[in-house]
């Protein structure tokens, strides 16, 4: 059963990679990268690499949100002359981000013997658990890098000059 599941997840990862390479714009590419990362994380979990699966899923969930926001800020809309980042698109991007991150959290919370519980259980008793410290430091470093990107984002979404390239 798990062998078939890993084959299906591997095929989904392959489709996600094809989506990244062939996507028309970066927003669709970010969504395809999200699918590829989630599928590969499932393959890792079925292969017995639970820690790698947890780190990979959470890290790429955040990275896909970052890429999605970058696509909203930097790409022009395929439907018109303006930027993709209009208020409706920002709202849709925020909903998609919260849905993806929330889904990842719910999946790991409901897995009673899942990687997150095995990761956090020793940390409750031992303050100096190096694994827990590594996870916390990586989360803090990723949050700091995302803050740097957010600060350096373009300030407005004015209409694009005519004749320039899309994406």
């Amino acid at each position: 059963m798990s062998a078939w599941a890993s084959y299906v997840l591997g095929a989904a990862a392959l489709l996600g990679a094809l989506g990244v390479v062939g996507a028309r714009d970066a927003a669709r590419g970010a969504a395809a990268l999200w699918i590829m990362a989630a599928s590969l994380s499932g393959v890792f979990a079925l292969s017995g690499a639970a820690l790698t699966a947890a780190v990979y899923l959470f890290a790429y969930s955040g990275a896909s949100v970052l890429l999605l926001l970058a696509a909203l800020a930097l790409e022009r809309s395929p439907a018109g002359p303006g930027w993709r980042g209009n208020p409706r698109a920002w709202f849709a991007g925020a909903v998609a981000s919260f849905a993806g991150l929330g889904l990842a959290a719910v999946v790991f919370r409901n897995a009673s013997d899942g990687p997150i519980n095995s990761l956090l259980a020793p940390a409750a008793g031992a303050q100096g658990n190096p694994l827990f410290a590594l996870a916390a430091c990586s989360c803090l470093a990723a949050a700091a890098c995302i803050a740097v990107v957010a600060i350096s984002a373009p300030p407005d979404s004015s209409p694009a000059p005519s004749g320039s390239e899309n994406s």
Partner: protein
């Protein structure tokens, strides 16, 4: 999935990412194609753990590689944003400052 099949899938992912890096014109798309390649490499590390090769901590190494890849992605997106502010586009043709 047997480790040999996982290695085959990782090879396909690496070559797909390489194709995307060579073909795509947007810097963000090139960055995402690079991460397809990194995904293939991490899958190869996990597959080597399944084969029982020497260095059984390859899965831990794969987790560290994933973390470093994400930090690199954050820096890469910051560079793309800075490039966009200077050049007004993310087209890779405009990134010719170091061209011979």
């Amino acid at each position: 999935m047997p480790p040999d099949h996982a290695l085959l899938l990782s090879t396909v992912l690496v070559f797909l990412g390489l194709l995307g890096m060579l073909v795509r014109r947007s810097l963000l798309a090139v960055l995402m194609s690079l991460h397809v390649m990194i995904g293939g490499i991490v899958l190869a590390l996990v597959a080597y753990t399944g084969r029982g090769e020497p260095g059984a901590s390859a899965a831990s190494f794969a987790a560290i590689v994933s973390i470093v890849a994400i930090l690199e992605l954050a820096v890469g997106v910051a560079l793309v944003v800075a490039f966009f502010r200077n050049r007004g586009s993310t087209a890779i043709e405009r990134a010719g400052l170091l061209r011979w």
